[in-house]
């Protein structure tokens, strides 16, 4: 028999970016709030302090900050005819999408690439039809508009950028193109709170090469603080040391935007908020009418089942876990790709990355002087920033020279054709570590009929619950787009003066083995129509108005960008709707 706790005003499941923002905003509105985190407590001090945090083996190879797959994983297959099998290990730094766990969630181990989506991204379907006609939409694509526009979200992007202390160079201030920024970005009301990070020498060569080709390079917006910063809530952050331990690590000087350095310090100080760690939520409980959520049930550190009643329930776990919780709770109709009916699990989408390594005979780099989002980017081939006529795909991605990781287990580039071991390899590794850099492409993945999430019929987690089953593969749209972008990246590498290049094209079949991006989206998508979306434009369940599902699970399809800033902006947008409208009149917001 579950232990039943006293009711609270709101319970928030997951203490990453989405949950941290929601918890803070609701608690500041005066609600009693409980935050449930399935992982442990952790913070800048003592958990991310040097010298121990500067440990590539522990964090980048053994995934020290990630979910323990022994307790929970997901199963995967490329198409509905295959048998899905569990993702069993992340050995050697592999794993397409390492999933976070613990206070701050994936917001602790990300590398800080902090993008606004393009105005086009929110209206992908209608704008594609408008410019290229209905026939430009790939046959099995299930893409749709978001139900909100860039202009709706702009003030909340702004709010996130100032809360998180984003470094960057504006490209479009109130409609005026700004020198040195991204000329393709949507108009912003004001500049970033912090100037951009420094540009690496590798980024400078990329910049010059891209400019000679007529592209428009700019410094990546970064959740790495270029200067010490105090956010509007009074939370202080450090200045980035460019130490090179960023993606998959916690930051020792609180110079990487994270729930732990922004919203959580505020909410943890409020008397009407209570954090419970090691609280693994297994379901949301509805009342008999199935139109009201009454509580969540979780398993605590001692293995006890605890029921927490609340008036407002916010699912703000990782995108995949939000979807899984809806499925485990039997809320909504599970998507069936055969009939096309059902919405939970529909429109799952991912991200692709391809790369070009550039080798130089006459240049020297110091790749270890880096920050997670220290990059030079061109956005000329993202979204609909270019004419797609005759290209055979829609959407796009950015091309960037990221300094990123440079610790040598994972990073010791050698030219193609070098044997992988022996004296010849050793010489090539020694000669090229300082003479190479990598350019990546980071492209959009649309949503399709046969890419979806549901519950696995066979495999279970440590709590006896079915694992989430992922069915996913690339389609021609991604493969053509990736080849297009990869060719552009190679062009820039050559123009930058590379004497030799390695091209890593997107593999024709998606594999969960190589490390890629933790950019899983969709499965509980937002929209303006209850017939085609799980949540309304305020991320509120159409059928269960006191249940909000916040996170990248709401994206109807992916864009060319990293998702975090949009996750944060959507959380502020939703919290604002609850504070200003829902609390006065609890019920459907749309």
């Amino acid at each position: 028999m579950a232990i039943k706790k006293d009711p609270v005003d709101a319970v928030v499941v997951g203490m990453g970016w989405a949950g941290g923002i929601m918890a803070k905003e609701l608690a500041q509105a005066g609600l009693t709030v409980v935050g449930l985190e399935r992982g442990p407590y952790r913070n800048t001090a003592p958990h991310f302090q040097p010298p121990e945090i500067h440990d590539e083996l522990r964090y980048a190879r053994r995934h020290g900050l990630m979910q323990n797959l022994r307790r929970e994983t997901n199963t995967f297959r490329n198409n509905p005819r295959q048998r899905a099998l569990p993702m069993r290990q992340w050995a050697y730094g592999q794993g397409a999408y390492p999933l976070g766990e613990g206070l701050g969630g994936s917001g602790v181990h990300w590398n800080g690439q902090s993008w606004r989506f393009l105005p086009w991204d929110f209206e992908t379907r209608s704008r594609t039809v408008e410019r290229y006609g209905e026939e430009a939409i790939p046959p099995d694509a299930t893409i749709q508009d978001w139900g909100i526009t860039y202009d709706d979200l702009e003030p909340y992007y702004d709010k996130f950028e100032y809360a998180a202390g984003i470094s960057g160079q504006a490209g479009n201030l109130q409609g005026q193109t700004q020198e040195g920024g991204n000329p393709f970005e949507g108009p912003r009301q004001r500049d970033y709170p912090l100037p951009p990070l420094k540009t690496a020498y590798s980024g400078l060569l990329f910049w010059e090469g891209a400019e000679r080709l007529g592209y428009h390079p700019f410094p990546s917006p970064a959740g790495n603080q270029s200067q010490a910063y105090t956010n509007p809530d009074g939370v202080a952050m450090g200045r980035c040391l460019y130490c090179g331990f960023c993606s998959k690590y916690g930051c020792e000087v609180a110079a990487k935007s994270s729930p732990l350095t922004t919203v959580l310090p505020v909410v943890l100080g409020l008397d009407n908020f209570q954090l419970r760690t090691h609280a693994n939520v297994i379901r949301v409980n509805l009342d008999d009418t199935r139109t009201r959520a009454v509580s969540v049930t979780y398993v605590d550190a001692q293995g006890r089942e605890i029921e927490q009643p609340a008036d407002i329930i916010v699912l703000a776990a990782y995108a995949l876990n939000n979807v899984r919780l809806l499925l485990l709770s039997g809320i909504g109709q599970t998507y069936d790709p055969m009939s096309g009916e059902g919405l939970i699990g529909k429109n799952y989408s991912y991200q692709f990355i391809s790369a070009v390594s550039a080798f130089f005979e006459d240049r020297v780099f110091n790749p270890f002087m880096s920050a997670g989002a220290m990059a030079t980017v061109v956005d000329d081939f993202n979204g609909d920033n270019f004419d797609h006529t005759g290209l055979g795909f829609i959407g796009g991605g950015f091309i960037a020279q990221f300094t990123g990781e440079a610790a040598p287990i994972n990073t010791h580039p050698v030219p193609l054709g070098t044997p992988p071991w022996g004296s010849e390899w050793k010489r090539a590794a020694a000669e090229n570590y300082r003479r190479a850099f990598t350019i990546i492409t980071h492209g959009a993945v649309l949503s399709y009929r046969n890419n979806y999430l549901d519950l696995d019929p066979t495999y279970r987690d440590a709590y006896g619950q079915p694992l989430l089953r992922m069915t996913f593969n690339w389609t021609d749209n991604e493969l053509r787009m990736a080849d297009f972008l990869t060719n552009k990246a190679a062009l820039i590498a050559r123009e930058a003066g590379a004497s030799d290049i390695n091209i890593f094209r997107l593999a024709r079949t998606f594999s969960i083995v190589p490390g890629q991006a933790t950019h899983n989206n969709g499965g509980a998508i937002m929209g303006a129509d209850p017939a085609t979306s799980v949540v309304n434009p305020y991320l509120q369940m159409w059928d269960v108005p006191n249940l909000f599902v916040v996170g990248a699970s709401a994206f109807p399809q992916n864009t060319g960008y990293n998702p975090t800033e949009t996750v944060g902006a959507l959380a502020y947008w939703t919290a604002d709707a609850i504070r200003n409208r829902y609390l006065k009149n609890p019920g459907p917001l749309a």
Binding site: R61, R70, Q89, V364, N366, P408, K426, A430
Partner: protein, 253 residues
């Protein structure tokens, strides 16, 4: 082979392996400059606390001999400096095997066990401890049948031939897919050569010296990024152990 002393000769030269840590000589000798003319920084005078000795906790003597020979072929000692054997990679692998990694402690290990597509990732029951134990036994049986002796006693050229056969999967082993064994050994060898020395490998930071990686120090590179445009930043590398033991500070600027 190079001018480097082999591990067994070195043990003789310092007496007992177990006391290497307390002696002022130890493995620091590996980094002496003449063999590494490309590296401008001075060699350290002694090893410091990172020398973990040469004892084994998981691997038995047959397995030790195999690993010591195999990693020396993967990353050989040569004119560029020490190889994986001298870097302590065998001890690194041994320690990994006795820990969480070796037992698959953070792997999902529930059945049913079904052979999937390569895109679905690893689907076997074997954890690294078993991959090494069964794999080395299988390989030595193969070497005995083919060459008349265990792997460690073969000529270098024969060892290279065997490793290439494992890598390509041309050699069939009884219990462990050859390519799986090879990739496990290969990944762990690279890890042991380049990981922080606190794990027993990369002894005297030879892997970091080879490529010019400065290590774990919390240097504020903020002011140096532009200063070192097109110019190598070269310093004595610092490990986690160096900082823990006070051999180096967080910031050595």
């Amino acid at each position: 082979m190079s001018s480097y002393v082999s591990r067994r000769n070195l043990i003789k030269s310092v007496g007992l392996a177990g006391v290497a840590r307390t002696l002022p000589l130890g493995f620091g000798a590996f980094a002496l400059a003449p063999e590494m003319p490309r590296l401008p920084w001075p060699a350290p005078q002694q090893e410091g606390a990172e020398g973990a000795g040469l004892t084994y906790a998981f691997l038995n003597s047959e397995e030790q001999a195999f690993i010591e020979a195999a990693v020396a072929r993967l990353i050989p000692a040569d004119e560029l400096g020490p190889g994986a054997l001298e870097a302590g990679v065998p001890q690194f692998i041994d320690r990994q095997l006795i820990g969480v990694f070796g037992s698959g402690g953070d792997w999902y290990l529930q059945g049913p066990w079904v052979e999937g597509e390569p895109e679905q990732g690893y689907q076997m029951r074997l954890v690294p401890q078993e991959i090494y134990r069964a794999g080395i036994r299988d390989i030595n049986l193969y070497c005995q049948e083919t060459y008349g002796g265990p792997f460690a006693e073969l000529a270098e050229e024969q060892q290279i031939e065997v490793l290439q056969g494992l890598q390509s999967g041309e050699i069939a082993l009884q219990d462990v897919p050859a390519a799986l064994f090879f990739s496990t050994l290969y990944q762990n060898t690279m890890e042991g050569f380049f990981a922080d020395p606190i794990y027993g490998g990369n002894r005297n930071k030879v892997g970091w010296r080879l490529v010019g990686y400065p290590g774990a120090a919390s240097v504020d590179y903020g002011a140096l990024v532009e200063e070192y445009y097109n110019r190598p930043y070269e310093v004595e590398p610092v490990s986690i152990a160096d900082i823990q033991t006070g051999e180096a500070s967080h910031s050595h600027e």
